[in-house]
C-alpha cells in the first residue's frame, strides 16, 4: 500500500516538475527539467522515509517540486527583462533601417498616388519619335520662344532640305470656344499643321479617338486636363463639333496627360491645312531629320538653312527635344553626381576607422558594417528619388521646366544632406553591434589641448566600445578613435546585477 502511494506521489512530483518546466523558455527547458529531476532523486535519497513511507519526506519533496514553479517564474522574468533590455535600446541598426524603410514606403506610396508623378515617371508616355527637332532662329537663345513666321515655314517646306523629311507648324492663340452650352470659355489653342501629331508619333497614344474619318471639317484634339475640366471626362464628346474662334471643328481625340512636351501650353490643338497658316503669324516649327540630318547633330543642335527672304544671313538651329524628354531619372543621376561632388565641402567623408588598441572586430562584423552603410545609402537614394518627385510634381498637370528644376534642386539637397547624415550616423555607430554610441562626456579642458587629451567620450551601451572625439583636432589626434573594451568592463553593463 505504502509503495503504491509512494509511487503515485513520485509520479505526481514528476508531473509537477514537468508542468513547471513548461513555464521555462524552450531553450532552457530540458536543462532545468533534468536538474530538477536529478535534485529530486538525490533529495529523496538523502531524506529516506521511515518504514518505506513518510509524510515528512514526501512533504519536503512536494515543497521542492512546488518551488520549481517559483524557479520557472523567476527564469521567465529574467529572460523577459533581458529581451526588453535588448529591444529597448534606441539607436539600433534595425531601428535605423526600419525608419528609412518607412520613409521610403511613404514617399513611394505618394509617388504612386500623385498623378503628376506617375505621369512623369513613365517616359514611354511622352517619348517622341527619334530625330525630331524644334527649329528656331539663331538670333534667339530662349528655346521656348516662338521664332518662325508662317511664311518662313512655308518657304522651308517648299525648299527641299537634305537633312529634313517632315515639317509641322503650330502657333499659340487664345480663342473663344462654343461648346453648345451658354458659357463661352477661352481656350489656349495651338493652331497646328495637320501632320503635327503624325510627325510627333503621338496619335497612337490618344486616350480616346474618333472613329469617323477626317473630312473637310477641321479637327481639334483636346488636352486631358481640359477634357476632364470642361466635359467631365465624357467620352461622348469625341466626334462632336465645337466652334473654336471662327472655325467649326470636330473633336478628334484626347491627348493623354503629360504627353505634350513641346513649347507652349495648350488646352486644345486645332489641326488645319498649311494653306490656312497666316503668313505673318509667329509660331514653332517641328522638323523630322533624315539619317543624314541626324548625323549633323552636335551638342543637341543642328544647323539648318533658313531661307529668310528679308535676311539671307539668318539661319536656323534645330534643337533636339532630348532635354524635354529625358525623364526624371536623368535629372536624378545628375543631382547625385553634384551632391557627391559637394559632399566633402560640408562633412568629412572619413568614417573614423582608427582605434587605440590592436583589437579589431572580426571580418564578418566589418562586412556587416559595410553592408549596413550600403543599405542606408541605397535607402536614402531611393527616398531622395521618390521624395523629390513628390515635391516637384505634386501639383503638376503637365510638363514644365520649373518642375524639372525643382526636382533637380530637391534631389540634390536631399542627397547632399542625407549623405551627410548617413556618414555622421555611421561614425557614431559601434563597429561591433552597430548601435549608436551614447552618454557623451566632456573629457579634459580646452585650455590644455596641447598638454592633454581634450574632447568628448561616448560609450556603446552594450559595452563593446568607447568613442573618443577630439574637441580640437591636432596633428596627434586629428580624427575620432575607437577603443574596444575587453571583458573586464562587462560588469558595468550587467543590467540588474547579481543576486
Amino acid at each position: 500500500m505504502s509503495s503504491a502511494l509512494r509511487s503515485a506521489l513520485g509520479g505526481m512530483n514528476r508531473g509537477i516538475l514537468h508542468c513547471a518546466s513548461r513555464l521555462v523558455p524552450r531553450e532552457q527547458r530540458a536543462d532545468w527539467l533534468r536538474e530538477w529531476n536529478a535534485e529530486l532523486w538525490h533529495m529523496r535519497r538523502s531524506c529516506p522515509p521511515v518504514d518505506g513511507f513518510g509524510w515528512k519526506s514526501e512533504g519536503v519533496a512536494a515543497a521542492f517540486c512546488l518551488g520549481a514553479f517559483q524557479d520557472a517564474f523567476c527564469v521567465r522574468h529574467l529572460c523577459r527583462q533581458g529581451s526588453q533590455a535588448g529591444s529597448s535600446q534606441h539607436g539600433s541598426a534595425r531601428e535605423c533601417l526600419l525608419c528609412l524603410g518607412g520613409l521610403l514606403a511613404v514617399s513611394y506610396i505618394l509617388a504612386c498616388v500623385l498623378p503628376g508623378v506617375s505621369m512623369e515617371s513613365h517616359p514611354s508616355h511622352y517619348q517622341l519619335k527619334p530625330g525630331l527637332v524644334l527649329l528656331q532662329s539663331e538670333l534667339f537663345t530662349d528655346s521656348s520662344a516662338a521664332t518662325i513666321h508662317g511664311q518662313q515655314f512655308l518657304d522651308l517646306k517648299a525648299s527641299r532640305q537634305r537633312g529634313i523629311d517632315g515639317l509641322a507648324f503650330y502657333r499659340m492663340a487664345k480663342e473663344t470656344v462654343s461648346t453648345g452650352v451658354d458659357a463661352k470659355p477661352k481656350w489656349r489653342v495651338a493652331h497646328a499643321s495637320l501632320s503635327l501629331f503624325a510627325l510627333l508619333g503621338a496619335p497612337a497614344t490618344f486616350s480616346a479617338v474618333s472613329n469617323e474619318p477626317a473630312g473637310a471639317v477641321p479637327t481639334v484634339v483636346l488636352s486631358d486636363e481640359l477634357w476632364r475640366r470642361q466635359f467631365g471626362g465624357n467620352p461622348k464628346v469625341i466626334g462632336s463639333v465645337v466652334r473654336v474662334g471662327r472655325n467649326a471643328a470636330k473633336v478628334l481625340g484626347v491627348l493623354p496627360r503629360g504627353s505634350w512636351r513641346l513649347p507652349g501650353r495648350a488646352d486644345a490643338w486645332l489641326l488645319q491645312p498649311d494653306s490656312q497658316i497666316p503668313r505673318g503669324a509667329v509660331g514653332y516649327v517641328v522638323a523630322h531629320l533624315t539619317r543624314f540630318g541626324r548625323s549633323e547633330i552636335y551638342d543637341e543642335r543642328v544647323h539648318i538653312n533658313g531661307f529668310v527672304p528679308d535676311d539671307p544671313d539668318e539661319d536656323l538651329w534645330g534643337v533636339s527635344f532630348g532635354e524635354r524628354t529625358r525623364g526624371p531619372w536623368t535629372i536624378f543621376r545628375f543631382a547625385i553626381f553634384l551632391a557627391f561632388l559637394a559632399l566633402p565641402a560640408i562633412t568629412s567623408v572619413s568614417l573614423g576607422e582608427s582605434c587605440f588598441s590592436s583589437h579589431r572586430p572580426s571580418l564578418m562584423k566589418n562586412l556587416y558594417r559595410w553592408i549596413f552603410l550600403g543599405t542606408k545609402i541605397a535607402l536614402l537614394l531611393s527616398i531622395a528619388y521618390f521624395a523629390s518627385l513628390d515635391l516637384s510634381y505634386w501639383n503638376a498637370t503637365g510638363y514644365s521646366e520649373l518642375s524639372e528644376y525643382a526636382q533637380l534642386a530637391s534631389s540634390f539637397f536631399i542627397c547632399l544632406f542625407g549623405m551627410r547624415w548617413v556618414l555622421l550616423d555611421q561614425r557614431e555607430r559601434c563597429p561591433v553591434c552597430l548601435r549608436r554610441v551614447t552618454h557623451p562626456a566632456q573629457v579634459g579642458q580646452a585650455s590644455r589641448t596641447f598638454l592633454a587629451w581634450n574632447g568628448t567620450e561616448l560609450i556603446c551601451t552594450s559595452g563593446h566600445t568607447l568613442l573618443h572625439v577630439p574637441g580640437l583636432p591636432t596633428s596627434w589626434f586629428g580624427t575620432q578613435r575607437w577603443m574596444y573594451l575587453d571583458t573586464s568592463w562587462k560588469f558595468l553593463f550587467a543590467g540588474t546585477g547579481v543576486g
Binding site: 532545468w32 514553479f69 524557479d71 527564469v75 560588469f491 543576486g499
Partner: protein, 105 residues
C-alpha cells in the same frame, strides 16, 4: 570584478555555501535553508555573471552508480575574489557557513 554593492546577501550566502563544499543545488538548499525557488535562479544569475561555473557529471559515472547525473557548481576566480569582498561586507557570513578550510582545522 563585480562590485561589492551589487552582491546581495542571498548571493553571498550561496557563494559561501559553494565555497564550503556544497557543490550542487539541493546541498546548498540544505546548508543555507533557502527554498528551491530562490537558490536555483540565484545560481543561474551567478553563473551568468561568471562568479560560478557549472558542469554536468559524466553520464557514465552516474550510470555506474545507478542514479541520475547531477549538475555541479564551483566558484570561478572572479567568484572567489567577490566572495572575499563580500565576507568583509557581511562578517557573519563565514560564521554561518564555515568554509572547507575552516572546518578542516
Amino acid at each position: 570584478m563585480v562590485s561589492e554593492a551589487k552582491l546581495s546577501h542571498t548571493a553571498a550566502i550561496i557563494l559561501q555555501a559553494i565555497s564550503s563544499g556544497c557543490v550542487y543545488g539541493f546541498s546548498i538548499m540544505e546548508m543555507t535553508g533557502l527554498p528551491s525557488g530562490t537558490v536555483y535562479p540565484a545560481m543561474r544569475r551567478l553563473e551568468r555573471d561568471q562568479l560560478i561555473s557549472s558542469r554536468w557529471e559524466r553520464q557514465s559515472i552516474a550510470d555506474a552508480e545507478q542514479r541520475p547525473a547531477r549538475k555541479y557548481y564551483k566558484l570561478t576566480s572572479t567568484g572567489r575574489t567577490t566572495l572575499e569582498a563580500s565576507r568583509k561586507r557581511y562578517p557573519l557570513l563565514e560564521r554561518m557557513i564555515p568554509s572547507e578550510e575552516a572546518r578542516s582545522l
